[in-house]
Symmetry: C2
Subunit: 214 residues, 2 copies
Protein backbone atom coordinates (compact mmCIF):
# COMPACT_ATOMS: atom_id res chain seq x y z
CA UNK A 1 0.00 0.00 0.00
CA UNK A 2 1.54 3.28 -1.13
CA UNK A 3 -0.26 5.82 1.05
CA UNK A 4 0.52 5.99 4.76
CA UNK A 5 -0.87 8.39 7.35
CA UNK A 6 0.89 8.77 10.68
CA UNK A 7 -1.62 10.40 13.02
CA UNK A 8 -3.81 10.28 16.09
CA UNK A 9 -7.57 9.66 16.53
CA UNK A 10 -8.01 12.85 18.61
CA UNK A 11 -6.27 15.10 16.09
CA UNK A 12 -8.51 17.28 13.90
CA UNK A 13 -5.65 17.66 11.43
CA UNK A 14 -5.41 13.88 11.13
CA UNK A 15 -9.20 13.68 10.57
CA UNK A 16 -8.88 16.32 7.80
CA UNK A 17 -6.51 14.08 5.86
CA UNK A 18 -8.44 10.85 6.54
CA UNK A 19 -11.72 12.47 5.42
CA UNK A 20 -10.07 13.57 2.17
CA UNK A 21 -8.79 10.03 1.57
CA UNK A 22 -12.30 8.68 2.24
CA UNK A 23 -13.90 11.19 -0.16
CA UNK A 24 -11.33 10.15 -2.76
CA UNK A 25 -11.99 6.45 -2.05
CA UNK A 26 -8.29 5.83 -1.55
CA UNK A 27 -6.86 3.04 0.56
CA UNK A 28 -4.18 3.82 3.12
CA UNK A 29 -2.31 2.45 6.06
CA UNK A 30 -2.85 4.24 9.38
CA UNK A 31 0.10 4.42 11.76
CA UNK A 32 -0.66 5.60 15.30
CA UNK A 33 1.57 8.34 16.71
CA UNK A 34 1.00 8.19 20.47
CA UNK A 35 0.64 11.82 21.51
CA UNK A 36 0.02 10.75 25.14
CA UNK A 37 3.60 9.48 25.40
CA UNK A 38 4.97 12.43 23.37
CA UNK A 39 5.91 10.17 20.47
CA UNK A 40 5.52 13.21 18.17
CA UNK A 41 8.42 14.86 20.02
CA UNK A 42 10.70 11.81 19.68
CA UNK A 43 13.79 12.01 17.50
CA UNK A 44 12.31 9.32 15.23
CA UNK A 45 9.19 11.40 14.55
CA UNK A 46 11.07 14.73 14.37
CA UNK A 47 13.16 13.21 11.58
CA UNK A 48 9.86 12.89 9.64
CA UNK A 49 8.38 16.25 10.64
CA UNK A 50 10.79 18.62 12.42
CA UNK A 51 7.79 20.66 13.66
CA UNK A 52 6.65 17.62 15.67
CA UNK A 53 3.02 17.62 14.57
CA UNK A 54 0.67 14.99 13.22
CA UNK A 55 -0.30 14.01 10.61
CA UNK A 56 2.70 12.92 8.58
CA UNK A 57 1.86 11.54 5.14
CA UNK A 58 3.61 9.29 2.63
CA UNK A 59 2.67 8.51 -0.94
CA UNK A 60 5.55 6.40 -2.22
CA UNK A 61 8.59 8.68 -2.29
CA UNK A 62 6.59 11.79 -1.38
CA UNK A 63 6.84 12.66 2.32
CA UNK A 64 4.59 15.48 3.47
CA UNK A 65 3.44 17.27 6.59
CA UNK A 66 0.87 20.06 7.16
CA UNK A 67 -2.64 18.64 6.78
CA UNK A 68 -3.93 21.33 4.41
CA UNK A 69 -0.99 20.77 2.03
CA UNK A 70 -1.76 17.03 2.12
CA UNK A 71 -5.47 17.50 1.33
CA UNK A 72 -4.61 19.85 -1.55
CA UNK A 73 -2.16 17.30 -2.93
CA UNK A 74 -4.82 14.58 -2.77
CA UNK A 75 -7.52 16.80 -4.30
CA UNK A 76 -5.32 17.79 -7.26
CA UNK A 77 -3.50 14.50 -7.82
CA UNK A 78 -6.67 12.39 -7.67
CA UNK A 79 -8.92 15.05 -9.22
CA UNK A 80 -10.91 12.51 -11.24
CA UNK A 81 -11.34 9.95 -8.45
CA UNK A 82 -14.18 9.99 -5.88
CA UNK A 83 -15.63 13.36 -4.90
CA UNK A 84 -14.22 16.34 -6.84
CA UNK A 85 -12.94 18.48 -3.96
CA UNK A 86 -11.56 21.35 -6.00
CA UNK A 87 -12.23 22.96 -9.40
CA UNK A 88 -10.37 23.17 -12.70
CA UNK A 89 -11.51 26.71 -13.51
CA UNK A 90 -8.96 29.15 -11.97
CA UNK A 91 -11.60 31.60 -10.75
CA UNK A 92 -13.67 28.87 -9.10
CA UNK A 93 -10.49 27.45 -7.59
CA UNK A 94 -9.64 30.92 -6.25
CA UNK A 95 -12.96 31.13 -4.39
CA UNK A 96 -12.35 27.68 -2.88
CA UNK A 97 -8.84 28.81 -1.83
CA UNK A 98 -10.28 31.95 -0.28
CA UNK A 99 -12.54 29.87 1.98
CA UNK A 100 -9.82 27.36 2.85
CA UNK A 101 -7.75 30.38 3.96
CA UNK A 102 -10.71 31.73 5.95
CA UNK A 103 -11.02 28.34 7.65
CA UNK A 104 -7.32 28.36 8.52
CA UNK A 105 -7.04 31.96 9.72
CA UNK A 106 -10.50 32.95 11.01
CA UNK A 107 -12.45 29.80 11.92
CA UNK A 108 -9.77 27.37 13.09
CA UNK A 109 -7.92 29.52 15.68
CA UNK A 110 -10.90 30.09 18.02
CA UNK A 111 -12.78 26.87 17.11
CA UNK A 112 -9.84 24.52 17.61
CA UNK A 113 -8.87 26.16 20.92
CA UNK A 114 -12.47 25.72 22.10
CA UNK A 115 -12.48 22.07 20.98
CA UNK A 116 -9.25 21.55 22.88
CA UNK A 117 -10.72 23.20 25.96
CA UNK A 118 -14.12 21.52 25.94
CA UNK A 119 -13.35 18.08 24.45
CA UNK A 120 -9.66 17.17 24.55
CA UNK A 121 -8.70 18.56 27.99
CA UNK A 122 -11.50 16.66 29.81
CA UNK A 123 -10.34 13.44 28.08
CA UNK A 124 -6.70 14.09 29.03
CA UNK A 125 -7.57 15.41 32.49
CA UNK A 126 -5.74 18.69 31.79
CA UNK A 127 -6.37 21.97 33.64
CA UNK A 128 -8.90 24.22 31.95
CA UNK A 129 -8.44 27.88 30.98
CA UNK A 130 -10.21 30.61 32.89
CA UNK A 131 -13.84 31.18 31.91
CA UNK A 132 -13.03 34.67 30.58
CA UNK A 133 -10.60 33.18 28.03
CA UNK A 134 -13.22 30.67 26.88
CA UNK A 135 -15.84 33.43 26.60
CA UNK A 136 -13.54 35.52 24.41
CA UNK A 137 -12.96 32.57 22.08
CA UNK A 138 -16.72 31.95 21.93
CA UNK A 139 -17.33 35.57 20.99
CA UNK A 140 -14.73 35.39 18.21
CA UNK A 141 -16.23 32.18 16.86
CA UNK A 142 -19.74 33.70 16.96
CA UNK A 143 -18.52 36.64 14.85
CA UNK A 144 -17.06 34.28 12.27
CA UNK A 145 -20.26 32.22 12.19
CA UNK A 146 -22.31 35.39 11.63
CA UNK A 147 -20.33 35.99 8.44
CA UNK A 148 -20.69 32.33 7.43
CA UNK A 149 -24.46 32.61 7.95
CA UNK A 150 -24.73 35.52 5.50
CA UNK A 151 -22.51 33.72 2.98
CA UNK A 152 -24.29 30.35 3.27
CA UNK A 153 -27.63 32.08 2.73
CA UNK A 154 -26.41 32.72 -0.82
CA UNK A 155 -24.15 29.74 -1.46
CA UNK A 156 -24.97 26.11 -0.60
CA UNK A 157 -21.34 25.37 0.26
CA UNK A 158 -18.53 27.76 1.21
CA UNK A 159 -16.71 27.50 -2.13
CA UNK A 160 -19.81 27.43 -4.37
CA UNK A 161 -22.54 24.96 -5.35
CA UNK A 162 -20.65 21.81 -4.46
CA UNK A 163 -18.81 20.32 -1.48
CA UNK A 164 -15.07 21.05 -1.63
CA UNK A 165 -11.98 21.13 0.56
CA UNK A 166 -13.20 24.48 1.90
CA UNK A 167 -16.07 22.66 3.64
CA UNK A 168 -14.22 19.45 4.46
CA UNK A 169 -11.49 21.31 6.36
CA UNK A 170 -14.16 22.35 8.92
CA UNK A 171 -15.72 18.94 9.62
CA UNK A 172 -13.43 17.66 12.36
CA UNK A 173 -13.56 20.71 14.62
CA UNK A 174 -17.31 21.18 14.08
CA UNK A 175 -17.83 17.53 14.95
CA UNK A 176 -15.94 18.02 18.22
CA UNK A 177 -17.93 21.16 19.10
CA UNK A 178 -21.30 19.57 18.27
CA UNK A 179 -20.88 17.40 21.37
CA UNK A 180 -20.50 20.47 23.61
CA UNK A 181 -22.63 23.41 24.76
CA UNK A 182 -21.33 25.30 21.73
CA UNK A 183 -23.70 23.31 19.49
CA UNK A 184 -26.08 26.17 20.34
CA UNK A 185 -23.84 28.63 18.45
CA UNK A 186 -24.29 26.61 15.27
CA UNK A 187 -27.98 25.78 15.85
CA UNK A 188 -28.82 29.48 16.27
CA UNK A 189 -27.84 30.16 12.67
CA UNK A 190 -30.14 28.28 10.27
CA UNK A 191 -27.89 28.26 7.19
CA UNK A 192 -24.80 27.38 9.23
CA UNK A 193 -26.81 24.67 10.98
CA UNK A 194 -28.04 23.14 7.69
CA UNK A 195 -24.52 23.26 6.26
CA UNK A 196 -23.08 21.52 9.36
CA UNK A 197 -25.75 18.81 9.18
CA UNK A 198 -24.96 18.30 5.50
CA UNK A 199 -21.18 18.03 5.81
CA UNK A 200 -21.34 15.81 8.92
CA UNK A 201 -23.81 13.45 7.23
CA UNK A 202 -21.47 12.63 4.36
CA UNK A 203 -20.70 8.89 4.22
CA UNK A 204 -16.96 9.61 3.98
CA UNK A 205 -17.08 11.67 7.17
CA UNK A 206 -19.16 9.08 9.04
CA UNK A 207 -16.57 6.48 8.09
CA UNK A 208 -13.83 8.57 9.71
CA UNK A 209 -15.88 9.19 12.86
CA UNK A 210 -16.45 5.45 13.23
CA UNK A 211 -12.76 4.69 12.64
CA UNK A 212 -11.46 7.32 15.09
CA UNK A 213 -14.02 6.85 17.89
CA UNK A 214 -12.78 8.52 21.07
Amino acid sequence: MAIKVHGHPLSASTHRVLATLAEKELDYEFILVDLATDQHKSQAFLSLNPFGQVPFFEDGDLKLFESRAITQYLAHTFADKGTPLTAHDPKKMAIISQWTEIEAHCFYPPASKLAYELVIKPINGETKEEESVVSQLEARLAEVLDIYELHLAQSKYLGGDSFTLADLHHSAVINFLMGTKLKALFDARPHVSAWCADILARPAWKKIVAATKY
Copy 2:
Protein backbone atom coordinates in the same frame (compact mmCIF):
# COMPACT_ATOMS: atom_id res chain seq x y z
CA MET B 1 -6.91 48.10 -16.05
CA ALA B 2 -8.45 44.82 -14.92
CA ILE B 3 -6.53 44.09 -11.72
CA LYS B 4 -7.17 46.23 -8.64
CA VAL B 5 -5.65 45.86 -5.18
CA HIS B 6 -7.28 47.59 -2.22
CA GLY B 7 -4.67 47.68 0.51
CA HIS B 8 -2.35 49.60 2.82
CA PRO B 9 1.41 50.32 2.65
CA LEU B 10 1.96 49.03 6.21
CA SER B 11 0.17 45.73 5.63
CA ALA B 12 2.34 42.65 5.13
CA SER B 13 -0.61 40.88 3.50
CA THR B 14 -0.90 43.71 0.98
CA HIS B 15 2.86 43.48 0.27
CA ARG B 16 2.47 39.71 -0.32
CA VAL B 17 0.00 40.34 -3.13
CA LEU B 18 1.91 43.30 -4.63
CA ALA B 19 5.17 41.30 -4.66
CA THR B 20 3.42 38.47 -6.51
CA LEU B 21 2.07 40.94 -9.08
CA ALA B 22 5.57 42.38 -9.51
CA GLU B 23 7.13 38.90 -9.95
CA LYS B 24 4.42 38.20 -12.54
CA GLU B 25 5.08 41.57 -14.26
CA LEU B 26 1.38 42.40 -14.09
CA ASP B 27 0.00 45.94 -14.06
CA TYR B 28 -2.57 46.88 -11.44
CA GLU B 29 -4.35 49.78 -9.86
CA PHE B 30 -3.66 50.35 -6.15
CA ILE B 31 -6.51 51.69 -4.03
CA LEU B 32 -5.57 52.88 -0.54
CA VAL B 33 -7.72 51.60 2.33
CA ASP B 34 -7.01 53.98 5.21
CA LEU B 35 -6.56 51.71 8.22
CA ALA B 36 -5.82 54.74 10.44
CA THR B 37 -9.41 55.95 10.02
CA ASP B 38 -10.83 52.40 10.22
CA GLN B 39 -11.91 52.46 6.59
CA HIS B 40 -11.57 48.65 6.59
CA LYS B 41 -14.35 48.50 9.18
CA SER B 42 -16.70 50.74 7.14
CA GLN B 43 -19.87 49.30 5.64
CA ALA B 44 -18.52 50.05 2.16
CA PHE B 45 -15.40 47.95 2.76
CA LEU B 46 -17.23 45.20 4.70
CA SER B 47 -19.45 44.74 1.63
CA LEU B 48 -16.23 43.80 -0.22
CA ASN B 49 -14.67 41.70 2.56
CA PRO B 50 -16.96 40.92 5.51
CA PHE B 51 -13.91 40.01 7.60
CA GLY B 52 -12.73 43.64 7.31
CA GLN B 53 -9.16 42.92 6.30
CA VAL B 54 -6.87 44.16 3.55
CA PRO B 55 -6.03 43.37 0.83
CA PHE B 56 -9.11 43.03 -1.33
CA PHE B 57 -8.42 42.05 -4.92
CA GLU B 58 -10.29 42.34 -8.21
CA ASP B 59 -9.50 40.80 -11.57
CA GLY B 60 -12.47 41.73 -13.75
CA ASP B 61 -15.47 39.93 -12.29
CA LEU B 62 -13.40 37.96 -9.77
CA LYS B 63 -13.49 39.50 -6.29
CA LEU B 64 -11.16 37.94 -3.76
CA PHE B 65 -9.86 38.37 -0.24
CA GLU B 66 -7.23 36.45 1.82
CA SER B 67 -3.78 37.32 0.52
CA ARG B 68 -2.53 33.72 0.21
CA ALA B 69 -5.56 32.78 -1.92
CA ILE B 70 -4.85 35.79 -4.14
CA THR B 71 -1.17 34.90 -4.62
CA GLN B 72 -2.11 31.30 -5.45
CA TYR B 73 -4.64 32.52 -8.01
CA LEU B 74 -2.00 34.75 -9.63
CA ALA B 75 0.67 32.02 -9.59
CA HIS B 76 -1.63 29.47 -11.26
CA THR B 77 -3.52 31.77 -13.65
CA PHE B 78 -0.38 33.50 -14.92
CA ALA B 79 1.84 30.42 -14.62
CA ASP B 80 3.73 31.20 -17.84
CA LYS B 81 4.24 34.93 -17.22
CA GLY B 82 7.18 36.40 -15.24
CA THR B 83 8.71 34.29 -12.46
CA PRO B 84 7.25 30.76 -12.14
CA LEU B 85 6.12 30.82 -8.52
CA THR B 86 4.71 27.32 -8.37
CA ALA B 87 5.24 23.97 -10.12
CA HIS B 88 3.26 21.84 -12.55
CA ASP B 89 4.41 18.52 -11.09
CA PRO B 90 1.96 17.52 -8.28
CA LYS B 91 4.69 16.29 -5.92
CA LYS B 92 6.78 19.44 -6.36
CA MET B 93 3.63 21.51 -5.89
CA ALA B 94 2.88 19.57 -2.69
CA ILE B 95 6.27 20.49 -1.21
CA ILE B 96 5.68 24.16 -2.07
CA SER B 97 2.23 23.94 -0.42
CA GLN B 98 3.77 22.34 2.66
CA TRP B 99 6.08 25.33 3.12
CA THR B 100 3.36 27.92 2.39
CA GLU B 101 1.38 26.21 5.17
CA ILE B 102 4.42 26.30 7.47
CA GLU B 103 4.76 30.02 6.75
CA ALA B 104 1.10 30.58 7.59
CA HIS B 105 0.91 28.44 10.74
CA CYS B 106 4.43 28.39 12.24
CA PHE B 107 6.37 31.42 10.98
CA TYR B 108 3.71 34.11 10.53
CA PRO B 109 1.98 33.97 13.96
CA PRO B 110 5.06 34.90 16.07
CA ALA B 111 6.85 36.88 13.32
CA SER B 112 3.90 39.10 12.41
CA LYS B 113 3.08 39.81 16.06
CA LEU B 114 6.73 40.83 16.60
CA ALA B 115 6.65 43.06 13.51
CA TYR B 116 3.48 44.66 14.83
CA GLU B 117 5.08 45.18 18.22
CA LEU B 118 8.47 46.48 17.06
CA VAL B 119 7.58 48.32 13.83
CA ILE B 120 3.88 49.16 13.49
CA LYS B 121 3.08 50.12 17.09
CA PRO B 122 5.92 52.71 17.31
CA ILE B 123 4.66 54.25 14.03
CA ASN B 124 1.07 54.37 15.30
CA GLY B 125 2.08 55.42 18.83
CA GLU B 126 0.28 52.39 20.32
CA THR B 127 1.02 50.89 23.76
CA LYS B 128 3.51 48.04 23.67
CA GLU B 129 3.05 44.55 25.13
CA GLU B 130 4.94 43.49 28.24
CA GLU B 131 8.53 42.40 27.65
CA SER B 132 7.73 38.83 28.74
CA VAL B 133 5.18 38.50 25.91
CA VAL B 134 7.71 39.76 23.37
CA SER B 135 10.36 37.37 24.72
CA GLN B 136 8.01 34.40 24.34
CA LEU B 137 7.31 35.35 20.72
CA GLU B 138 11.05 35.71 20.07
CA ALA B 139 11.67 32.25 21.51
CA ARG B 140 8.94 30.75 19.29
CA LEU B 141 10.36 32.47 16.20
CA ALA B 142 13.88 31.27 17.07
CA GLU B 143 12.64 27.67 17.22
CA VAL B 144 11.04 28.01 13.79
CA LEU B 145 14.22 29.57 12.36
CA ASP B 146 16.28 26.67 13.77
CA ILE B 147 14.18 24.29 11.65
CA TYR B 148 14.47 26.59 8.63
CA GLU B 149 18.25 26.64 9.08
CA LEU B 150 18.46 22.84 8.88
CA HIS B 151 16.14 22.77 5.86
CA LEU B 152 17.87 25.60 3.98
CA ALA B 153 21.24 23.86 4.47
CA GLN B 154 19.87 21.21 2.10
CA SER B 155 17.57 23.22 -0.15
CA LYS B 156 18.35 26.64 -1.69
CA TYR B 157 14.76 27.79 -1.30
CA LEU B 158 12.01 26.49 0.99
CA GLY B 159 10.08 24.71 -1.74
CA GLY B 160 13.07 23.37 -3.70
CA ASP B 161 15.73 24.70 -6.08
CA SER B 162 13.84 27.77 -7.20
CA PHE B 163 12.11 30.77 -5.67
CA THR B 164 8.36 30.16 -5.20
CA LEU B 165 5.36 31.47 -3.29
CA ALA B 166 6.68 29.58 -0.24
CA ASP B 167 9.58 32.05 -0.07
CA LEU B 168 7.73 35.13 -1.28
CA HIS B 169 5.11 34.84 1.46
CA HIS B 170 7.87 35.52 4.02
CA SER B 171 9.41 38.63 2.46
CA ALA B 172 7.20 41.35 3.95
CA VAL B 173 7.46 40.28 7.59
CA ILE B 174 11.19 39.53 7.31
CA ASN B 175 11.70 42.96 5.76
CA PHE B 176 9.95 44.57 8.73
CA LEU B 177 12.00 42.56 11.26
CA MET B 178 15.32 43.30 9.50
CA GLY B 179 14.98 46.91 10.68
CA THR B 180 14.73 45.81 14.32
CA LYS B 181 16.94 44.14 16.94
CA LEU B 182 15.55 40.82 15.72
CA LYS B 183 17.81 41.04 12.66
CA ALA B 184 20.26 39.23 14.97
CA LEU B 185 17.98 36.15 15.04
CA PHE B 186 18.28 35.83 11.27
CA ASP B 187 21.98 36.80 11.11
CA ALA B 188 22.89 34.11 13.63
CA ARG B 189 21.77 31.37 11.22
CA PRO B 190 23.95 31.41 8.09
CA HIS B 191 21.59 29.59 5.71
CA VAL B 192 18.58 31.56 6.89
CA SER B 193 20.61 34.74 6.58
CA ALA B 194 21.70 33.97 3.00
CA TRP B 195 18.12 33.06 2.06
CA CYS B 196 16.79 36.33 3.53
CA ALA B 197 19.41 38.34 1.65
CA ASP B 198 18.48 36.53 -1.55
CA ILE B 199 14.71 36.99 -1.35
CA LEU B 200 14.94 40.62 -0.20
CA ALA B 201 17.33 41.46 -3.07
CA ARG B 202 14.87 40.42 -5.77
CA PRO B 203 14.04 43.31 -8.12
CA ALA B 204 10.30 42.63 -7.74
CA TRP B 205 10.56 42.91 -3.95
CA LYS B 206 12.68 46.09 -4.12
CA LYS B 207 10.04 47.64 -6.35
CA ILE B 208 7.38 46.98 -3.69
CA VAL B 209 9.56 48.34 -0.88
CA ALA B 210 10.10 51.55 -2.88
CA ALA B 211 6.38 51.85 -3.67
CA THR B 212 5.20 51.26 -0.07
CA LYS B 213 7.86 53.28 1.77
CA TYR B 214 6.76 53.89 5.35
